[in-house]
Amino acid sequence: MKAAVLVFPGINRERDMARTLKLVSGTEPAMVWHAETELPKGTDLVVIPGGFSYGDYLRCGAIAARAPVMDAVRAHAAKGGLVLGVCNGFQILCESGLLPGVLMRNAKLKFICRDVHLRVERSDTPFTRGYNAGQVIRVPVAHGEGNYAADEDTIRRLEGEGRVLYRYCSPAGEVGDTHNINGAAASIAGIVNDKGNVLGMMPHPENHVEEIMGCTDGRGLFAGLAAHLERAA
């Protein structure tokens, strides 16, 4: 795995992400500043971490989405390269047009910082192959704007094409209003683009990867990515 972690002013989860990538793949990721116009040669995974890029000014992720490095990310994605955006990274991917829809204010207006359960909807993608379809994982969230919204056609297309990979659920895997922490359409926690190589998700799998964190459920996502890239190489 040759990962590149993007760094924008105001991002604060980049070191958690880098630590996890190193832990799982054995290789240190490159840290790439937002003003760069190219990704390091041979990059096979771009990761946009969480935080508050540009202080969430204007709209979450709006300014970061127009940064010079994002043209390189768009080119990488167009060639089929993998992109993972977590939390603010998901917001940036939506704002940049790499993913459809938008992340709105949480339905109850509160910043939510706690563990949640996610149902893995399918296991036959690079982003979920470390899990079984239907498996429930526990990972933290920390966001005020994670309420996924898109027009009805887009939601129908996402569902029809199996592009919802992670959904908020109960510990037993039931999906419904009571477990939909932020009011997201169809309890969406994570979606992929039409080619399946760009994933955006609000929860932080990188924060549940070591025993000392109290849970290792997030590890499967990164282990799956590493296995996918190793096979492709």
């Binding site: 204007l58 709209r59 709006a62 300014i63 127009r66 704002e95 459809p100 829809g101 938008v102 709105m104 204010r105 949480n106 339905a107 109850k108 207006l109 919204a149 898109a150 027009d151 009011g183």
Partner: protein
Amino acid sequence: MKARVTVTLKNGILDPQGKAIEGALKSLGVDGIASVRQGKVFDIEVEGADKAKAEAALKAAADRLLANTVIENYRVEVLS
């Protein structure tokens, strides 16, 4: 030239902030408020004196950054 771009949420898009403001106005006892939707106003100084050119620049600004047209509408006005 002075100009203003007003960005508002599209109809049908849930606006939890507007709802909270609406609730606060009710609890303050301000009478006659039926509903509140929150938006943004950008006051912009435009170079030159060509109105058509200014409008084109403001439209580009709104389309490319100021508004997320998935959920928002915008209005461009050249004020002077």
